[in-house]
C-alpha cells in the first residue's frame, strides 16, 4: 500500500465490538483535516462516538454510507495529500483487499473470577505492561464502563477492571458497604492476584474508593486518577441515585441515565437494556439500597477524604466534566491544592467515556 494514502477504517472500541453503524459524516470529500478532527459518527450496540482522523490531509474519498452497518476494520474513507493524483487513489482502491475477518476464537475471554472474603468477584484483564492499572467503577456501574479506556491503554499497561460487590456479575452483597469496606475489597483483590502495588483509576464512588484504598494502604497505591469523583465534598444528586435504584423499566430509567451524560443521545437502547439486565438480577436493588444508605446517607456523601488523602502524598489527577449533574465539578476544583485538576467542557458525569481520548492521555500521564 502506498504510504501517502491513509485509510480510515471502522474502529474497534472494546473487545466485544464487531461492527458499527455510520450515522453521520462530519466532513465531506475535499475537506482538509488535521489529526484529531472528527470525521464521522459511529454507533455501536454499546455507545455512539466519533471517529477521529489519525492522519492529516484531504478527505479524498468517502466510501462508508450513512445508516449502514460495517464490520470492524472496513475501509470507510481515504485521506491523502492534495498532491496525490486521483489515478493513484483509484489504483489503490482497485487493488484494495479487505482485511480478513477475525475468527471468534482469537478473542480471548478477558473475564475471570476470583473468590475473596466478600465472595466471588468478576474482573477483566487486558494488556501486559510493567505498570499496573486497576479500574474501579462507580455506583451502579461495572467493569465495562471502562471499555474505551481499557482498550485504549492495553498496549502500555497491565490492566484490571473489576465489578465491585453488588455490581455487574460479582457477588450481590457486602461485608461492609462503606468506602472502607470497599477499599478492603480492592486490597484483597490485589492480594489474591499478587499485585503488590498499582495505579488506581476510579469513577465517581470508585474514585472515593481509590482514595480510601490509598489512605488505608499508602504503600500499595502509586497514584490515583479519578473521574467525576466522590470523596471531595458533600453533594450528590440523590434523586439520580434513588431513581436508578427504583426504576424497573426502560421508560422509567431512561431520564435518569440521560443525566449521566452531557449528550443525552449517548444513552442507547443497548445501554439501557444492559443496565436493566443487571438491575433485574436477584438482590441487586437491595444491595444498591444498602450501599446508597451507607455511602450517601441522608442524601449527602458520608465521607470527605481530602485531608486524609492529602496526608499520604500520593499523586492524584482529578478529572471532572464541567456539566456533571451527579457530582458538581466544584468538588474536584477543591482538590487543586494537592491534585492535578482537569475540568472538561461539554462533558457530563461519564468523562472517561465522553472524552475517552483526553481521559486516556491523562491516565497514562499520571501512571508514568
Amino acid at each position: 500500500m502506498s504510504d501517502t494514502i491513509k485509510q480510515v477504517v471502522m474502529p474497534k472500541w472494546g473487545l466485544s465490538m464487531k461492527e458499527g453503524k455510520i450515522t453521520k459524516w462530519l466532513v465531506s470529500e475535499g475537506a482538509t483535516v488535521s489529526v484529531g478532527d472528527e470525521l464521522t459518527e459511529v454507533e455501536t450496540e454499546k455507545i455512539a462516538s466519533a471517529v477521529e482522523a489519525t492522519d492529516a490531509g484531504v478527505v479524498r474519498r468517502i466510501l462508508g454510507e450513512v445508516d449502514t452497518i460495517y464490520p470492524v476494520k472496513t475501509l470507510l474513507a481515504i485521506i491523502a495529500d492534495a498532491s496525490v493524483p486521483d489515478s493513484e487513489i483509484d489504483a489503490f482502491l482497485a487493488s484494495y483487499v479487505p482485511p480478513a475477518v477475525e475468527e471468534d476464537e482469537e478473542v480471548v475471554d478477558i473475564y475471570s473470577t476470583v473468590t475473596l472474603p466478600v465472595g466471588e468477584i468478576r474482573y477483566a484483564k487486558y494488556g501486559s505492561g510493567d505498570k499496573t492499572l486497576i479500574f474501579i467503577h462507580g455506583f451502579g456501574g461495572d467493569c465495562d464502563n471502562w471499555l474505551f479506556n481499557t482498550s485504549g491503554l492495553a498496549d502500555q499497561f497491565s490492566i484490571y477492571a473489576l465489578d465491585l460487590p453488588g455490581h455487574g456479575r460479582s457477588v450481590k452483597g457486602f461485608n461492609d458497604a462503606s468506602l472502607s469496606g470497599m477499599a478492603d475489597v480492592i486490597l484483597s483483590f490485589m492480594d489474591a492476584l499478587s499485585i503488590d502495588s498499582a495505579n488506581l483509576i476510579g469513577h465517581s464512588m470508585g474514585g472515593a474508593i481509590s482514595m480510601k484504598t490509598a489512605i488505608k494502604a499508602p504503600k500499595r497505591v502509586k497514584s490515583v486518577t479519578a473521574f467525576g469523583t466522590a470523596g471531595l465534598g458533600a453533594d450528590i444528586n440523590i434523586d439520580y441515585i434513588n431513581g436508578f435504584i427504583g426504576s424497573d423499566s426502560r421508560r422509567e430509567i431512561k431520564p435518569f441515565l440521560e443525566e449521566l451524560f452531557f449528550d443525552a443521545g449517548l444513552v442507547s437502547r443497548q445501554m439501557i437494556d444492559d443496565i436493566l439486565k443487571y438491575k433485574r438480577l436477584d438482590h441487586v436493588p437491595e444491595s444498591l439500597r444498602e450501599l446508597a444508605d451507607t455511602v450517601f446517607k441522608g442524601g449527602k456523601q458520608s465521607e470527605n477524604l481530602i485531608d486524609a488523602f492529602k496526608a499520604t502524598g500520593i499523586p492524584m489527577t482529578a478529572i471532572h466534566g464541567a456539566d456533571d449533574k451527579i457530582i458538581p465539578a466544584a468538588h474536584s476544583e477543591a482538590a487543586k491544592s494537592f491534585a492535578k485538576v482537569e475540568i472538561l467542557a461539554g462533558t457530563g458525569h461519564m468523562a472517561q467515556m465522553e472524552k475517552s481520548k483526553e481521559a486516556n492521555a491523562l491516565i497514562a500521564a499520571q501512571a508514568k
Partner: protein, 335 residues
C-alpha cells in the same frame, strides 16, 4: 464473561434455581424424572427432550413428580395444588395436548381469582413445547398461543432466546397467576449469554432486538429469528427494519409496538399461528384502532395458512413463515 447456554439448559437452570430458593416449587409431568445417574430407564428421560434432566437427583421424587399419561388428571392436580399453596410447574410436553385439560385451565385455574372475589390465587405454570419445523406432524407442531391469549386470567409467555427464557420462567414461577409458558422446540438449542444468577423479566415488556426506522416487524418466538434474518437481507437494500419481540402475549406491550409504528409508519406482524384470530391479527387490530394516523400503508400479517401443520418436510417448510416471505412483505409496504 460470555456464559453461553442453550435455551433448554436455561429453562433447566431456572427450574433448578427456583426449586432451590423456594421449597413450595414442585414440577410434574410425563417422563420428567431422569438424569439422576441411576441405571437404565430411570436415567434415560428427564423430559422428552431432556429439559428437566437431573432435577430428580437434586430434589427427589416428592418434588419432581413423574405422572401417569393423563394430562387431565395431573394438570388438574397442579391447579389444585397451586390453589392450596404450592407453586407447581406442570410440563404438558406438547402444548397441543391441552385439549384434554381445557376445563382445568380455562374454567378453573383462569377463573379462581375472579370467582372467589380475589381471595384465591393460582400460582401454577404450565409449560411445554409449541411450534413447527420439528417433523412432528399436525398434533405436535401447532402454535396455539392465540387460544391461550384469548382467555382472561391466563398469562401467556413465548420467549425467543435463552436469556429471556430463564428470566421469564423465573418470573412465571414467582407470579401469583396461572401462566402458560410456550417453549419453541426449534429454539431449545439456540445459545445466548445467560447470567448464572437468578433474574426476572417483567411481563408485558417487549424487547427490540434490532432498531430501525423504515418498517416495524412485530414477532415472537421462532419468528423473531426469521424477522431478524429478513431485516439483515433488507439492510443490504437500504431498508432499515425495526424488530419488536413481544416476549409475552398476555399481557402484551402495546406501548412499545405503537411507539415503533409511530416512528416507522409501516407494520408487518409475523405469527407462526394460523391466521384467523392470531396474535398477528390482534396486533394489527390494536395498532389500527389506537394509531391509525401513524400508518402510511395497510398493515400486513404473515402467518401460517389456515390448515393443519403438514408432516411432509417440503410442505412444512412452506407452511412456517420464512424470512423471504417476511422480506417480501416489507418491500411491498414501502412501494
Amino acid at each position: 464473561m460470555a456464559r453461553n447456554l442453550s435455551m433448554k439448559d436455561a429453562i433447566n437452570e431456572a427450574l433448578d434455581l427456583e426449586m432451590r430458593r423456594d421449597p413450595t416449587v414442585i414440577i410434574m409431568g410425563e417422563d420428567i424424572a431422569g438424569g439422576a445417574g441411576a441405571q437404565g430407564e430411570e436415567d434415560a428421560w428427564g423430559g422428552v427432550l431432556g429439559v428437566t434432566k437431573g432435577l430428580i437427583g437434586k430434589y427427589g421424587a416428592n418434588r419432581v413428580m413423574d405422572t401417569p399419561l393423563s394430562e387431565s388428571a395431573y394438570i388438574g392436580a397442579a391447579v389444585g395444588a397451586a390453589a392450596c399453596g404450592l407453586r407447581p410447574v406442570a410440563e404438558l410436553m406438547f402444548l397441543d395436548f391441552m385439549g384434554v385439560c381445557f376445563d382445568q385451565i380455562f374454567n378453573q385455574a383462569a377463573k379462581f381469582k375472579y370467582m372467589f372475589g380475589g381471595k384465591a390465587q393460582t400460582p401454577v405454570v404450565i409449560r411445554g413445547m409449541v411450534g413447527g419445523g420439528f417433523r412432528a406432524a399436525a398434533q405436535h407442531s401447532q402454535m396455539l398461543t392465540p387460544l391461550f391469549t384469548h382467555i382472561p386470567g391466563l398469562k401467556v409467555v413465548c420467549p425467543s432466546n435463552a436469556y429471556d427464557a430463564k428470566g421469564l420462567l423465573i418470573q412465571s414461577i414467582r407470579d401469583n397467576d396461572p401462566v402458560i409458558f410456550c417453549e419453541h422446540k426449534n429454539l431449545y438449542a439456540s445459545m445466548a449469554d445467560v447470567p448464572a444468577e437468578s433474574y426476572t423479566i417483567p411481563f408485558g415488556e417487549a424487547a427490540i432486538p434490532r432498531e430501525g426506522k423504515h418498517v416495524t416487524i412485530v414477532a415472537y418466538g421462532l419468528m423473531v429469528h426469521r424477522a431478524l434474518e429478513a431485516a439483515e437481507t433488507l439492510s443490504k437494500e437500504k431498508i432499515d427494519v425495526e424488530v419488536v419481540d413481544l416476549r409475552t402475549l398476555s399481557p402484551i406491550d402495546l406501548d412499545t409496538i405503537i411507539e415503533s409504528v409511530e416512528k416507522t409508519g409501516h407494520l408487518v406482524a409475523v405469527d407462526e399461528a394460523n391466521p384467523r384470530c392470531s396474535i398477528a391479527a390482534d396486533v394489527i387490530a390494536s395498532v389500527t384502532e389506537h394509531a391509525f394516523k401513524a400508518l402510511k400503508s395497510a398493515p400486513k400479517a404473515i402467518t401460517a395458512p389456515h390448515t393443519p401443520v403438514p408432516f411432509t418436510p417440503v410442505l412444512e417448510d412452506l407452511y412456517i413463515p420464512s424470512a423471504e416471505r417476511i422480506a417480501d412483505a416489507v418491500r411491498k409496504q414501502l412501494k
